[in-house]
Structure formats: structure tokens, C-alpha cells
Symmetry: C2
DNA sequence: ACCTGAACACCGTTCAAGT
DNA sequence: ACCTGAACACCGTTCAAGT
């Protein structure tokens, strides 16, 4: 499981602790329930004293900030990876939407952390280009779609904001199990995405008439 | 400021502590920055020992749960109060959307608390009718609109889910100042709501052509 | 330069007492 | 029946020492 660079037997006195802490935190996020892990716990799992992390991060929020940034990077990658060259703008939007949702459902605690106010100033993190990438990918697709005539002629910034808000809300409500009765077999999420596309696409076709 | 029922001079040994704690917490939520107040702080402000609250709530989460429920009730009231009898379904949806957003912006910390996983099991709170009201109000309007022909014929549950996700995302991103550059004079929020209505309304008119 | 261990000022929660 | 105060097992953070 843990085969680091030059670890010979077991104890090491100084290695690449900063990276180790981040990876330990990500692993904790992946396994555990809730993103509210304790800094001391991360230090414990990384086999260092509870004060060692302070040599690499000014405080706990700084570590969370780093994790959040990493999350946004990965989200952007997942969205990019969902695209195929032949796709039309609406198809691209749908693919990115599903990729976004899937990312949240596969990494619920990391996703919550990304949008937690504990991870530093929220207004600041979105100034970092690493966190902005997903948003600008959407704008780009929308603008191309408007040029092609497949996307409704509206403010692309507004449409991108709408898309992001919609996806963020849907993802958050979904991973928190807040979406109504959640009856087996109901398609609330798919239907919600249909309504999002209805708002973006020009002359939407009747896809799923619904109840 | 604090004129309770039968408080004569200052010290009281046992009154309606449960209600006092809730009101103190709400006041703290209103003033302070962040909803992560401490149970001990609430007790301090309520002039009781730090263990007194445990006579009225099994733990801190139970108090947060109560506050969250109260928040959903107020949100529902605000949405209901925004309606006028003469409104069409699309007008109702728009009015409720603005009421929702306004509620979040006026009570940012309460709103965050309502959607925090710390306030008990999220899946459980939405079983309470008090928390469901806002959602069903939207469904009702959507169904009436579909009958009138002003709302697109799609699954009303899906449309309601889409509306809620959209509004929740927009509200959260807005109060956390996560909405892009946020240049003065840009209308990202209004434009985002336009896109939401584009998805719900049948044959949407060109309202704000945008950039 | 990096890490440890004791220490400080807090928490949430429990429980034997008090009134 | 309700409230207090000491106590427990934790935190995040700091800092004088160690290597």
C-alpha cells in the first residue's frame, strides 16, 4: 500500500512530508465518513508528531485549501476527459454535466470540502486559475454553441452561471441524499438535467415527456 | 432588547430555557460570522452553565437540527409571501426564485446551517413536512402551469428538482462569493435565473438578449 | 532545516451534586 | 425537574528543545 520513494525499513525522520500530508488527507477523505478530519489525525496517520504539519502549512485551513484546489483541478480534468471531438455543443454540455455529477458522487467528501468555507476564503480560491478551469470550459462550449446556432442566444456568462449553479446544487443535494422521496426507479436527476438543457438549447426536442 | 416573560431583576433559575437557547442561537447566527458557533458560547450568552443545554437537547447536532428546521419553515413562508393572486405560473416561479435568493442573502449563516451535514442526517430532515413545504410549493405551481400550458410538458418532479438545485446552487455560490469576477454591473444572477425560466417556460420570449 | 513534546486555551459530553 | 461544577478525552496552535 505505502511504498514511498526511499523508505528502507520503517522510521524516517524527514522526507517529503508536505506531499505525504496531502496524500494522507486525500486517503482519509476517500475512506472516512465526513471531511471533518482532524489535523492531529492526519499527523498520526503520517507517523509524525501533531506539530510537524505546522512546518509545512500555516494552519489547518491552509491544508484544506490545498485539497480543495486539487479537487477543482481533478474536476476540470474529469470534465475535459468526458468530451469527444465529434460532439455538438449540447452533447458536450450533457457530457460535462454527467462528468460533474459523477465526480461529486465518487468523491463526496472531497466535493463538500471544495465548497466548504473552512477551506479558506471562498472568494479567494476562485481567483486561482486552477479552480476556474471547469467554469471557463463551460463558457467556451456555450459560446461555440451560440455561434453554431445550437445554443440559445443569451448572455453566455449567465448561462454558464446557471449551468454551474444547477450542477453544484444537484450534486450537493444528491450526495447529501436530500432529493425528495428518492424512490427507486425515479429519474429526478436525469429529468432535472433535461430541464437544464431545455434552458440552454435552442428549440429543444421532446426527449422524455415525463409524467 | 431582552424582555422575557417573568424576568424581574436579572438572575433566573429556571425558565423556558429550550426556547431561549434556540433564540440565542438564531441571534448568534444573525450577528456573528460563520454558523460554527460553540454550544458553550450559546450557554454563556443564555446565562446558564455549559452543561445546562443537555437537559433540553441530547447533543449539539440536535440544536442545529432544530435551527435548520426553523430555517426551512421561514424559507417556505418567504416564498409563499412573494406570491400575488393574479400571477401566472412563470411569474410565480420567478417571484419564488427571487424570494429564495433573498432569503439566503439575508440569512447566509442560517442558510449554510440548513444545508450542513452537521445538523443531523440530511436525509432525515427532508422527511419532516416542515422542511418539505418549499419544494411542494414549487411542484404545485409547475403542475398548474403545465395545465395552463405556460410550462413545458415534462416531469414536474424533474422540473422541481431542477428548480431547487438551480436555486440552491445559485444561493450558495452567491453568499460564498464564488460567482466569478463579480464585476460591478454584471447581471450573472439575473441572467442565470433567465436561463432557469428558459428551461421551464414553454416558448420563452426573448427577455434579455445578453452579450 | 526539520521534527518532537510539553503546554495553553479551548471544545463536546458526562455525571455526581446541589436547589 | 432542572441546573451547576468538576472531570474526561479530545482539539488547534505555539514554542522551547532536540537532531
Amino acid at each position: 500500500m505505502s511504498s514511498d520513494q526511499t523508505s528502507q525499513t520503517k522510521p524516517y525522520h524527514h522526507g517529503d512530508l508536505r506531499r505525504t500530508l496531502i496524500e494522507t488527507a486525500l486517503a482519509t477523505l476517500r475512506e472516512q465518513q465526513g471531511w471533518q478530519f482532524t489535523l492531529r489525525e492526519i499527523a498520526r496517520r503520517a507517523q509524525v508528531s501533531h506539530s510537524a504539519p505546522y512546518r509545512h502549512f500555516p494552519d489547518k485551513a491552509a491544508l484544506l485549501y490545498e485539497l480543495a484546489l486539487l479537487g477543482f483541478e481533478r474536476l476540470g480534468e474529469a470534465m475535459r476527459a468526458s468530451l469527444r471531438p465529434a460532439m455538438s455543443a449540447p452533447e458536450r454540455l450533457q457530457a460535462m454535466a454527467y462528468a460533474y455529477l459523477a465526480f461529486g458522487e465518487e468523491n463526496p467528501d472531497l466535493y463538500r470540502l471544495m465548497f466548504s468555507t473552512q477551506a479558506g476564503d471562498p472568494a479567494q480560491i476562485h481567483v486561482d486559475p486552477r479552480a476556474q478551469a471547469p467554469f471557463y470550459q463551460v463558457i467556451e462550449v456555450l459560446e461555440r454553441g451560440q455561434a453554431e446556432g445550437t445554443i440559445r442566444a443569451r448572455s453566455a456568462l449567465g448561462q454558464a452561471t446557471a449551468s454551474w449553479a444547477h450542477l453544484h446544487g444537484l450534486t450537493m443535494l444528491s450526495i447529501d441524499s436530500r432529493l425528495v422521496p428518492a424512490k427507486v426507479g425515479d429519474h429526478a436527476i436525469e429529468d432535472a438535467l433535461t430541464t437544464l438543457l431545455d434552458g440552454l438549447v435552442r428549440d429543444p426536442v421532446a426527449r422524455s415527456p415525463g409524467a
